[in-house]
């Protein structure tokens, strides 16, 4: 079983979330990935320590279905953004500072990417694992309304292959003493577009999970100073999640 065997892990199942999905060529190419029915086969893609979002989703059997990257493709050939919110028990400016600090950002997205600062307000992202050479891109801060909104955009000419073209956070006060509502909106734009490059074909992306987990990690880092982890966990399989 190969390290990135996304295709083989996906069952050919009817797209239950989009029953009316058309069979136009672009779309059907992507549909090969289809809406993922999380059955036994997906253990393949769900359990690597660093996958692009499929991590940990695999074990719960056939009960769940997730939208994969292709499901966000509109009939017009554009990608719908993926948006999720979380409530974090900290003030907005503190969160906004944390979100743009390169070290913190690296921990927040550590489940699928490596991030480092390459200049003022400029960061290099690369996919974790063997895809790093094929998926590496630069993002810069395009909007910074302190404590309200923070938006990165991909700088095209510095990118080998970008996974998304924007990463936007907004911060709103939560009711009572609950802190701040943080919303993350990501516009995915996988390399090769809808035709699907070799890298994109092998992508193990469950967008809502990638975005949801990034927010979980952001919250934990802000509230506890650490990100919960079972790395190095002992089991009869050895040490850590890769085994």
């Amino acid at each position: 079983m190969s390290e990135h065997s996304f295709d083989s892990a996906v069952e050919d199942v009817p797209n239950s979330m989009h029953p009316g999905a058309s069979a136009e060529p672009n779309r059907s190419r992507w549909k090969r990935a289809g809406t993922v029915a999380l059955g036994g086969a997906l253990v393949v893609f769900g359990l690597r320590r660093r996958s692009l979002g499929g991590t940990v989703l695999a074990l719960v059997g056939g009960a769940l279905s997730y939208r994969t990257l292709s499901d966000y493709l509109t009939d017009a050939g554009e990608m719908e953004p993926v948006e999720r919110s979380i409530t974090i028990d900290k003030p907005a400016d503190e969160l906004s500072d944390l979100a743009r600090d390169p070290e913190s950002l690296a921990r927040i997205v550590g489940h699928f990417a490596d991030v480092s600062a390459v200049g003022d307000d400029r960061y290099r992202w690369s996919a974790g694992g063997p895809l790093a050479r094929e998926l590496s891109w630069e993002m810069e801060i395009a909007a910074d309304e302190s404590g309200e909104r923070l938006r990165w955009e991909t700088v095209d000419d510095e990118s080998i292959g970008a996974l998304f073209d924007s990463w936007s956070l907004s911060f709103d006060p939560a009711p009572g003493d609950r802190g701040t509502t943080v919303t993350l909106e990501v516009r995915f734009d996988p390399p090769g577009g809808t035709a699907g490059s070799a890298a994109a074909e092998r992508l193990d992306v469950v967008p809502e999970s990638l975005v949801g987990t990034a927010l979980d990690r952001f919250k934990s880092l802000a509230e506890t100073g650490t990100v919960p982890t079972t790395e190095h966990r002992p089991s009869a399989r050895g040490r850590g999640d890769l085994l």
Partner: protein, 393 residues
């Protein structure tokens, strides 16, 4: 066995628990501690794993969530614990900083489940991570092992400063606080009759806690004679053996037709049904979605006094087909949840140290870790009067 490895009980599928040599845990975050385990118990809820009814287990996972031992290493940021401290480790993992932890709803901690996304997909939101209880609830290695990594070490473990033996404090890790919270959730008032379904350890502690809270009458329901005797002897409960009597008829005759004011389901999904209900649930289980077997819930809803309380410490994992109509029309209150452990550790340690209760009465078997696999089977089959197994690694 080397310095790098340890012995642990690991899960390998249905009714397959093994003693394995696995890597020793290490400090990963500065808020972690490593505890060398001196005593560790098998829980009734471990049988859900043993019978492969919990989604999210992987072959080789280290089991166990009821451990205690000695701190042998602490991360840089740990302030409350030092090497050499003797601690009991509660089964829920809580960060201590989130809104839920601040509200003392520790088992609902927002930050301790690294796999929150998976739990969210199944339940809407994720509860706290637990030791040794599936990847759905965190994927943390468990405490049926020689060593355990304890995250948020300042928040979870309780220090035992006196030289009180392990056997008396070990059950602070789960079953004593769980039985206690079950009784607390039942909102017991002095004239109340409390019925407790299930006389395993949680049921035994629920019976005793209900007495501590001043219940007028406590009725324990089970089918294992030794367990019923124990509830009578240690918990001063009246008993019903459901294999020999109709529980509803019995309860009505014992309460003048009113029904027990407070009902506690200390069984959960593994309940053995005797009627036809059991058959249809087993058939449904063949389908993809696992359904829980809610016999006790159904019976408790039927028996409970109108306007009464149903407290559910028993573990359910999936969906349960419960009679919501009677629940609604009888205006019952339902309270449930994994135990908010940190709320109860100090007060219940106090009760043990003052001699108000000696929880070691539930221990039926004391063995080494190497006997673990056999003990899982004995416990599962309810053989050899097995009610609580304590292992010393």
């Amino acid at each position: 066995m080397t310095d790098e490895t340890m012995r642990a009980l690991t899960w390998h599928g249905e009714k397959d628990v093994r003693v394995s040599e696995v890597p020793r845990p290490e400090i990963v975050e500065p808020t972690d501690a490593i505890v060398e385990i001196t005593a560790t118990a098998i829980c009734g809820s471990d049988l859900h794993l043993y019978n492969d009814r919990m989604p999210g287990m992987r072959e080789g996972d280290v089991l166990g969530h009821e451990p205690m031992g000695e701190v042998v290493e602490t991360g840089d940021q740990v302030e409350n614990l030092e090497v050499g401290d003797r601690v009991v480790v509660p089964f829920t993992i809580s960060c201590g900083s989130c809104w839920f932890c601040e509200e003392e709803l520790y088992s609902l901690c927002d930050n301790s489940n690294p796999n929150a996304e998976m739990a969210r997909k199944m339940m809407g939101q994720s509860p706290a991570g637990l030791f040794g209880y599936s990847h759905l609830l965190g994927g943390y290695a468990g405490g049926q092992a020689e060593f355990l990594r304890v995250p948020y070490a300042d928040v979870g473990p309780i220090k035992i400063e006196s030289d009180i033996p392990d056997e008396q404090v070990l059950f602070l890790s789960d079953v004593f606080p769980t039985g206690y919270m079950a009784a607390e959730n039942a909102d017991i008032e002095p004239e109340d009759t409390v019925a407790v379904w299930g006389c395993g350890p949680v049921g035994q502690f629920a019976v005793q806690s209900a007495q501590m809270m001043g219940a007028n009458q406590v009725i324990a329901i089970d089918r294992v004679p030794e367990r019923l005797e124990m509830a009578g002897e240690h918990g001063d409960a009246e008993t019903i053996n459901y294999e020999h009597a109709d529980v509803y008829d019995q309860l009505m005759s014992m309460t003048g037709g009113r029904g027990p004011d407070r009902c506690i389901d200390a069984v959960g999904t593994e309940a053995h049904g005797t009627g036809l209900d059991g058959v249809s649930d087993r058939v449904k289980e063949g389908a993809k979605l696992q359904d829980d077997r809610p016999y006790v819930l159904r019976e408790a809803i039927k028996c409970c006094r109108k306007g009464g309380t149903l407290s559910v410490p028993g573990v359910y994992l999936g969906r349960a087909n419960v009679p919501f109509g009677p629940l609604m029309n009888k205006a019952l209150t339902v309270k449930t949840g994994q135990t908010h452990m940190q709320r109860y550790l100090d007060p219940l340690l106090g009760k043990i140290e003052e001699g108000e209760i000696d929880p070691s009465f539930i221990i039926s078997h004391q063995v080494g870790l190497e006997d673990g696999p056999e003990m899982y089977q004995t416990f599962n089959d309810k053989e050899d009067d097995c009610i609580k197994v304590v292992m010393t690694p």
